[in-house]
């Protein structure tokens, strides 16, 4: 079965846009996720990423990323609640633990863990949308002027996710085929094997890329195929999100304190930034399906 994160050509503005435009927009959401700790802003960035993914037709990728993100977030919350004992609102006293000493679970530590988890989940969803909607072939070509001398870099950027997706599917099948009597294979060993295998194979693919002449100083033709009429929209949206994020940061829209007590900033700056972020998620919206589908289709097929 095809991985939900594998790129699938679809007739949509995000798929038709050049990789740099798509990365500019999705990258701006990643910047927001790392720049802000305000849960409302993070949630808005996550919502924008989900809307983008759904409008771009990457429903399976979004769903899988949300599931993974939720699992990761819960893990982070649990770890943070146990290892951090700052905060005034004690929810539970868990007694003395080896190495950790007295463990008190505070509401503030749980909230701080939830924000960290939310950040991780948002970034996961954004990468899932990128992986499912941005053509790795076009990324490879777009990277050539930047990483012409490093096929490995280009391969890791453009092929690691598809390779890991294919390997993951095979490893899961192999684990299932071991039969009911075999010891179950944990997620962690599977993930370790997957990462090691994918990196190994990425190196082999990089060698192939070298042999295909990736590092050649061939004349690079500027082609219309690299550009799309949707590029301006995604560049503009990325710039708007970044500008709003920087302005919001300067205006104190990131107000969010965990310790000693939980305080969430909900000022006008924060609300405005949340609105901008959420609305930016509608960037891949097509004006009229019937009027634009043939163009979008042809752009996607050209891509």
């Amino acid at each position: 079965m095809r991985s939900p994160f594998a790129y699938m050509p679809r007739p949509g503005p995000l798929q038709a846009a050049s990789p740099s435009a798509a990365v500019a927009y999705l990258g701006s959401l990643v910047v927001v996720a790392f720049l802000y700790s305000n849960a409302l802003v993070l949630a808005a960035a996550g919502a924008a990423a989900i809307v983008v993914g759904l409008l771009a037709g990457a429903r399976r990728a979004v769903r899988a990323a949300l599931w993974m993100g939720l699992t990761l977030a819960l893990l982070i919350v649990a770890i943070n609640a146990v290892v951090v004992d700052r905060g005034e609102t004690v929810l539970a006293r868990l007694g003395d633990w080896p190495l950790l000493g007295p463990v008190n679970v505070t509401a503030e530590a749980v909230a701080a863990g939830a924000v960290l988890g939310l950040r991780a989940a948002v970034v996961l969803v954004i990468f899932a949308v990128y992986s499912a909607c941005v053509d790795p072939d076009r990324v490879l070509r777009a990277l050539r002027p930047l990483a012409g001398r490093s096929a490995l870099t280009a391969t890791l950027v453009s092929r690691l996710v598809p390779l890991a997706a294919a390997d993951g599917s095979r490893l899961r099948d192999a684990a299932r085929l071991r039969g009911p009597a075999a010891a179950p294979v944990g997620r962690a060993p599977l993930a370790r094997r997957l990462l090691a295998g994918s990196l190994d194979r990425a190196v082999d693919v990089a060698a192939t890329l070298e042999l295909r002449g990736y590092a050649l100083d061939a004349p690079r033709r500027s082609s219309a195929r690299a550009r799309s009429r949707y590029d301006a929209r995604f560049y503009a949206m990325g710039a708007l999100v970044l500008a709003a994020a920087v302005a919001g940061k300067l205006a104190g829209a990131d107000a969010f304190d965990f310790y000693p007590t939980l305080e969430i900033g909900t000022g006008p700056g924060t609300v405005a930034l949340v609105c901008v972020l959420f609305l930016s998620g509608f960037a891949p919206l097509r004006r009229s399906r019937s009027a634009t589908t043939p163009v979008a289709l042809s752009e996607a097929s050209r891509a």
Binding site: D137, R141, P162, V205, A207, E210, R212, A215
Partner: protein, 285 residues
């Protein structure tokens, strides 16, 4: 009046002299004093047990060794007149194609068409000539029906043909294949070998093919080079190779040759046709 041979035809497709190589942090050398020459249009079979240096030799011939893998190297390698130790795999890509064992690690694009077109695009060929070259190589390898498919929907045999097409699309003078049939079923493996022979004859491309299942390839080869411990232990015709293997390295004998030698039949058969003829001559068939 006889046609004058062009200088390119006179240049060996591959010339190696005194080549020695060790992988980084390796205790022993992977290649030791290897010298050989492949003339244009030859189909040469590279035989030997596992870890004897076959793959390393192929990697050296396409520039991956030492440029990609590192390590210490000495000697001289020239591919179609290009110094491989100076040029590196990128420059050599114009003269040499390489097909590895695992077809999946040789795919860098999402669709078959993009995969085959990539080397031409990297070379800067215009779109019209790229399209023509892709069509030609797809026809030669009987894969035009795959061109619009995504690579993750292909079988191992189809993927191997696509990898071969990507290696051949630039019409290199030399094609190196590292056990290309190891992941194919016997029928697909035989088909691939005879496809290579046909391309070798029709396109004049020199082929250096490393294989373990020699019974599959001997009949298609013009010459056999055997390796042992990183050095060349035999270089000659397929029939001489069988006689040599019987004496010096029985592990490399083909099953048919072993059977013939057991029952005292001579000469040892290079292929099925050969075996059939010997049996017929002896009145055994």
């Amino acid at each position: 009046m006889p046609e004058l041979a062009s200088p390119a035809r006179l240049t060996p497709a591959l010339a190696i002299e005194g080549l020695a190589y060790s992988y980084p942090h390796a205790e022993r050398a992977a290649l030791r004093d290897v010298s050989l020459q492949l003339d244009p249009g030859e189909l040469v079979l590279l035989a030997g047990r596992s870890a004897c240096g076959k793959s390393t030799l192929l990697r050296a011939a396409c520039g991956l060794v030492p440029h990609f893998h590192g390590g210490e190297i000495s000697g001289r390698i020239e591919v179609a007149g290009i110094d491989a130790l100076e040029a590196g795999p990128g420059k050599l890509a114009t003269a040499v194609g390489y097909v590895a064992q695992d077809p999946e690690t040789q795919v860098v694009s999402t669709t078959v068409k993009a995969e085959i077109e990539l080397p031409l695009e990297m070379r800067g060929d215009p779109p019209t000539s790229r399209a023509r070259a892709v069509e030609e190589v797809a026809l030669a390898l009987a894969i035009p029906h795959l061109l619009d498919r995504t690579v993750d929907t292909l079988s191992g045999g189809e993927l191997q043909r696509v990898a071969l097409a990507a290696a051949l699309v630039t019409r290199p003078q030399l094609v190196l294949l590292d056990e290309p049939t190891s992941q194919l079923d016997p029928v697909a493996g035989d088909e691939l070998i005879w496809l290579l022979r046909r391309l070798n004859e029709e396109w004049g491309v020199t082929i250096l093919l490393a294989e373990h299942r020699l019974e599959r390839c001997l009949a298609a080869a013009d010459r056999v080079i055997a390796m042992d411990g990183g050095a060349i232990s035999f270089d000659g015709s397929p029939r001489d190779f069988l006689a040599w293997a019987q004496e010096s390295d029985p592990a490399l004998e083909t099953p048919a040759a072993r059977l013939f030698s057991l029952v005292g039949l001579d000469p040892l058969p290079v292929g099925v046709r050969d075996a059939r003829q010997t049996l017929r001559e002896r009145g055994l068939r």
